[in-house]
Symmetry: C2
């Protein structure tokens, strides 16, 4: 009924199989490592209450009225300062407030992608970025990743093979789904290659502030000598995801067009959410709050890694993230994680089968685990269940691998 | 710089001339009828303060976490009840919460429009709808309107001439920019024509609740026998526009696809804004609040009409809205409202020249006036200035008209 009226782009978008799969993880008896939610018990509820009260008392109706598409100036000023602190020199004219960094992906697709344009991305990459770009009928060229992120030799080959590719999409810090971080040398190399091959970079950085081990690396945009990097970030992982507040930082040429597209898309981002976040930043110490998040996630990540070592068969590989929310697991090549998932659900434990994170052809022996959203006790119990399933499948039979 | 990387759709979107024009209206000495803002002094600031406090106390971190794309269930239930009250029988599965009804226009374009698909619309029509659909490279067929809204004979001719047109876009109640309302007979006829010619209808109803004269008419969707109407509405004009809260009401076939597109666009609408609005609806009486808005707008509209009769030359025509925020003015055909605007700015009064509201070829002798956003005193003074300018241009010289 009416499907014949749908646009071609809509027909490209299938109901996400993964979404259906994950519905079974919502049963209360299931310990689910499938989500990607921040720990809600860390949300600064009381501080936000104070910020709401202060905004409505001080700004009154201004906080509830239509506002500019660009975003609330004091908030953009605070973000510009925070970006400066991590090595991005910017000004508020280069910042646009958006409805979470997901909207940055949609607007980037809108701004840059014609039908069948090529996006070069990490393999695997963020599922909802794949979906955002698919809306604009993108083609994907996947570049292999290892523990240091995207392989630069492979990237150069991809650039040579696809000279018309529109942009490189990268999540350099604690990538979703792998948890891996692009090394310093590769960050510099990525920018050099972008300059050489005249391609843009879309740097998606939702997790960068959540580093609990190792040394912080400057964003790719820090090395951007030709304003080729469109940088996306968000308050979702460090403050509150429900408020849907993110930003785009890019050269004014991009921002001016983004503003036009944002205006046509939804006029502007929630004024009240912007003001209460600015007020929170004024009254409280976000960095101290982030330290609390990091301390908790550090322990949860450590617990999960310890459980892998303790409960999983030896032939299972895993990433060792220094921050963020996720660990990536590779099973022996002959094992289908989707089949493992079905057995796990019988045993009340869940994860995301990795296949969905590959835009072209998935590695079916992979899976993603989230550790940010539950207690260490629950992590240990869930991992014990998962380990039992994996051991029952893999046994001591390492001959195949 | 990098413009060669932009998508074709982006190249279609010019920097809005009107936006540049309106920048001069922001000077404090200018009395501007150019905006479209609700009266901020009527926003229920204290009630919203109480709702925020209650939500954060009762729901705590749940109000700040990621939530479902479809939207907060108690809010959708309350909206379903409100829709029932105006003649739309619906259920929450037919409702999607969005970031203001503007996002509904963007998602509708995304869902339905291939390049060069035709949208049939009122002439003139809402500027930001034109922009939203232009992003998807729409073509527009304008149908003449009169005091009863879109002309149905002309609509039928348009449907015959454009059998592949994707949808009819209509703002039946107190249209932006004309303030006109589609008559009851024409509402029925529009649905009958849509059925006959197998076309969809996008009904945009941001102003319907703000009726301060005449009798309320059921929405076009009330007469929708074949689920062809995609209905958009919002809390912007009756509660707070800054919160960016609107909804789509449509058959599940549409909603399911809208959910996928919304998820790719920005995951979901601000959870906190949804919850505080639901809490407001629970604790307070929105309809009583709307009565206050109506009482104020009724007086402002009356003042503006009286000023037209008192200060404007006789040959100037105007609409007589029974609700909403706008009055439409037609000058004699030889007069260019853009030139009038320039003189008005010298005299510290402003409006929107009407040309921008015509997607194809504008009637340059038209203009839009907003009365919702200022006191009666200010309206009177601004209209006096505007009348002086118009009299100086038109004088007693009616010979041309």
């Amino acid at each position: 009924m009416f499907e014949d009226k749908f646009s071609d782009r809509t027909k490209n978008i299938e109901a996400s199989e993964i979404r259906e799969v994950l519905k079974v993880t919502e049963k209360p008896e299931v310990i689910s490592f499938a989500g990607g939610l921040p720990a809600p018990e860390l949300f600064p509820v009381e501080e936000i209450k104070i910020a709401c009260e202060a905004v409505l008392t001080e700004a009154g109706s201004d906080a509830l009225q239509y506002s500019t598409t660009e975003g609330y100036t004091p908030l953009r000023e605070a973000i510009a300062q925070r970006l400066k602190d991590i090595g991005i020199e910017t000004a508020i004219d280069q910042l646009l407030m958006i409805g979470g960094s997901q909207q940055g992906l949609d607007l980037t697709g809108k701004l840059l992608l014609n039908d069948h344009d090529t996006v070069i991305c990490e393999s695997p990459t963020y599922l909802a970025a794949i979906n955002a770009f698919k809306v604009y009928n993108a083609s994907f060229v996947e570049v292999e990743t290892d523990e240091e992120g995207m392989n630069m030799e492979k990237l150069e080959k991809a650039l040579q093979a696809h000279p018309q590719a529109k942009f490189i999409y990268t999540i350099p810090d604690f990538q979703n789904p792998t948890g891996r971080t692009l090394s310093l040398a590769r960050r510099k190399k990525m920018v050099a290659l972008a300059n050489q091959y005249n391609i843009l970079i879309v740097e998606d950085n939702p997790y960068g502030a959540i580093r609990f081990a190792g040394e912080a690396l400057p964003p790719v945009k820090h090395f951007d000598t030709e304003d080729r990097v469109i940088y996306l970030s968000t308050f979702s992982k460090i403050f509150s995801p429900g408020l849907r507040l993110g930003w785009i930082c890019a050269n004014e040429v991009f921002i001016n067009k983004f503003v036009q597209l944002k205006q046509a898309a939804d006029l502007h981002t929630d004024s009240f959410a912007q003001r209460l976040t600015a007020k929170y930043l004024e009254l409280f110490d976000l960095d101290a709050h982030i330290e609390k998040i990091k301390a908790v996630y550090r322990m949860r990540r450590q617990t999960m890694i310890q459980c892998i070592e303790r409960f999983f068969p030896m032939q299972v590989q895993h990433s060792s993230p220094e921050g963020g929310l996720f660990i990536w697991v590779e099973l022996p090549e002959s094992v289908d994680a989707r089949a493992v998932f079905d057995i796990c659900i019988q045993n009340n434990v869940a994860f995301v089968p990795g296949e969905a994170f590959f835009p072209n052809q998935g590695k079916r022996n992979t899976l993603r685990l989230n550790y940010s959203n539950m207690s260490e006790e629950k992590i240990t119990e869930g991992m014990r269940r998962l380990g039992t399933v994996l051991t029952s499948i893999l046994g001591d039979n390492v001959a195949n691998f």
